[in-house]
């Protein structure tokens, strides 16, 4: 037992969730503060390392990775593709969609009326995975997916406001790391 929050931290991270500095959840905030302490972090790192989990520090968030890979490449690729789609959708909705950004499903539904690009993208989603009929249902479904992966969280239940968490930096980092060779880059239309 390294801190009295060890098991709580484990429980959150084990599910593939992030502990973000800007989470509106007080519990998570508390855990973030605990992990922020360098000494605690090092101790917990050692502790979790013993059971095959690597405690990692990202840009304002903590997460777990594994020493050995538990998933096959195809599954991981599929997930990454999905994130690219969703992120592209939200960036089309508002290019300032980034850490700290707040939005509500109804705002996106409103945007659909005057943003044909956004509508197109939503319809593509429908074909792939979302089998809901109405736009607002599909949007909710997409939001749920991102929420499940812990990149956004519901901040205000009454006004249905979601907040983008610092864990989005993880996605951004991943996308930035992918290298597109120059000759191919030149072939992509603007």
């Amino acid at each position: 037992m390294i801190t009295k929050y060890t098991s709580e931290i484990f429980d959150v991270l084990r599910k593939g969730q992030f502990i973000c500095s800007n989470s509106p959840d007080n519990e998570i905030q508390k855990l973030y503060k605990v992990l922020e302490d360098d000494q605690t972090f090092e101790d917990l790192y050692e502790y979790f390392y013993q059971i095959n989990y690597i405690l990692e520090l990202g840009n304002e968030y903590f997460y777990f990775s594994r020493i050995e890979n538990n998933t096959d490449l195809d599954r991981k690729l599929e997930k990454a593709f999905h994130w690219i789609d969703i992120l592209d959708f939200f960036k089309t909705y508002d290019s300032s969609f980034d850490v700290g950004f707040r939005f509500s499903p109804s705002e996106i539904v409103n945007q659909l009326k005057n943003n044909a690009d956004l509508k197109n993208k939503l319809e593509k989603f429908k074909k792939i995975s979302v089998d809901k009929k109405s736009y607002s249902d599909s949007i909710k479904k997409i939001i749920e997916k991102l929420e499940k992966d812990n990149f956004i969280t519901l901040e205000n239940e009454i006004s249905e406001t979601y907040k983008v968490l610092t864990s989005l930096n993880y996605l951004k980092d991943m996308i930035t790391t992918i290298n597109i060779p120059e000759e191919i880059e030149n072939e992509i239309p603007e």
Partner: protein
């Protein structure tokens, strides 16, 4: 051009159309002001609007009204809400001061000298205010552009332009300070005016404040530009990856496979529910566990309670009173009667008058039954007789 004849006329007419002008001013960014909207504010007297148009306070353009740029600029300047940062003012003022200093130094007439000095003082006073206002406007403009401009390229361009303006303001401040501190030493030595000194001190103070603000603004602009650059770059990258993905070439043309294969984050894993067996001791000892067991058991019991199956109705046919009579042979009675005779049993039964038809085989059965049941009361002889091919012992009563 038809203009106002004097200040009084100007102020009165502005005052009279105060409602319309203030409304038009406040809506100058958001909507195109129509003639019909304006009419409501002048009590539907079109002549009043015509007058304003004649005097070039407002201009009409294809059914739309707008405030004349001169007036608009004036209002914006006075109310410090200018969107445009007009630096030519400062520049002009510097030139103005230089000129007037020249005149001042050349002039021998005290009265005229004094009037030049007054002009210089006024300009200096203005300069501080204008510079400060430009700095405030600059800051506001930068923030507005960063937050509200939706077009990325324009946002970047606008910020760059604002940054250039910032450099200009800095230069102008330096020029002004150079003017005070180095270039016109002779003038300041000769002028020896208490008020001028005060104005200069306050001007220096204001300019110092401006410089500090400008440093902060510079930092802000650099930060904003970097953010935009990063965001823009990221967006570009995202769009490219999306394009490749949609064309199914992403795996072949990027190193995504390599990068993803190195990622062992738990987030990629499917979330499994780890089922753990309950500890037997826990089940035994824990009160709550016992409660739960009871609860579950109760539910379980309920589940076994099948609904009883309802049988079909009994048909009326079955309920009818069907009686069937059967005449039973009373062995006791036969024996009693037999005891009273001296006949042998077989013969007696063969001839016995039953209430119903009894055939030979049955009579043989009855004979056997009586013999076995009342053996004690009968005498069974050793001699035999044969009737109808059946050999039987002679039985008599005792």
């Amino acid at each position: 051009m038809n203009t106002f004849n004097d200040i009084k006329e100007l102020v009165t007419s502005l005052k009279r159309e105060e409602k319309l002008i203030s409304e038009m001013f406040s809506k100058r960014k958001s909507i195109d002001y129509r003639l019909s909207d304006a009419l409501e504010l002048v009590d539907y007297e079109e002549s009043r609007i015509d007058l304003l148009i004649q005097k070039s306070v407002i201009r009409e353009n294809g059914g739309l009204l707008e405030l004349d740029s001169q007036f608009l600029e004036f209002f914006e300047q006075v109310l410090s809400v200018s969107e445009e940062i007009n630096l030519s003012y400062i520049d002009e003022n510097i030139k103005n001061i230089k000129e007037n200093i020249g005149y001042f130094l050349n002039e021998n007439n005290e009265t005229r000298k004094y009037s030049y000095l007054r002009l210089i003082k006024k300009t200096f006073r203005n300069m501080g205010l204008i510079t400060l206002r430009s700095v405030v406007d600059l800051r506001r403009n930068i923030e507005n552009t960063f937050k509200n401009e939706s077009n990325y390229k324009n946002k970047q361009l606008k910020l760059k332009n604002l940054d250039e303006k910032r450099t200009l303001v800095t230069n102008l401040i330096q020029q002004t300070l150079a003017l005070i501190n180095q270039e016109e030493i002779t003038f300041f030595n000769r002028a020896l005016d208490e008020e001028l000194n005060r104005i200069i001190i306050s001007l220096k103070h204001q300019l110092g404040e401006c410089s500090h603000n400008l440093i902060e603004i510079e930092k802000q602009i650099i930060d904003y530009l970097n953010q935009i650059k990063q965001q823009g770059k990221f967006l570009e990258k995202l769009r490219k990856l999306k394009y490749l993905k949609d064309n199914f070439t992403i795996e072949a043309e990027t190193d995504i496979r390599k990068i993803i294969s190195n990622k062992n984050q738990v987030i990629f894993e499917t979330r499994t529910n780890q089922s753990l067996n309950l500890s037997i001791n826990f089940l035994r000892e824990n009160e709550k566990a016992f409660e739960s067991i009871k609860k579950i058991a109760k539910k379980h019991k309920n589940r076994l309670h099948f609904k009883p199956e309802i049988a079909d109705r009994i048909s009326t046919e079955n309920l009818a009173n069907n009686t069937e009579e059967e005449i039973m042979i009373n062995l006791d009675e036969i024996r009693n009667r037999f005891v009273a005779t001296s006949d042998n049993l077989f013969n007696f039964i063969l001839n016995y008058d039953f209430n119903k038809e009894v055939d030979f085989n049955e009579r043989v059965t009855i004979f056997c039954q009586i013999v076995s049941q009342y053996e004690q009361e009968l005498t069974i002889k050793d001699n035999f007789n044969i009737t109808n091919g059946i050999e039987y012992a002679m039985v008599f009563s005792k």
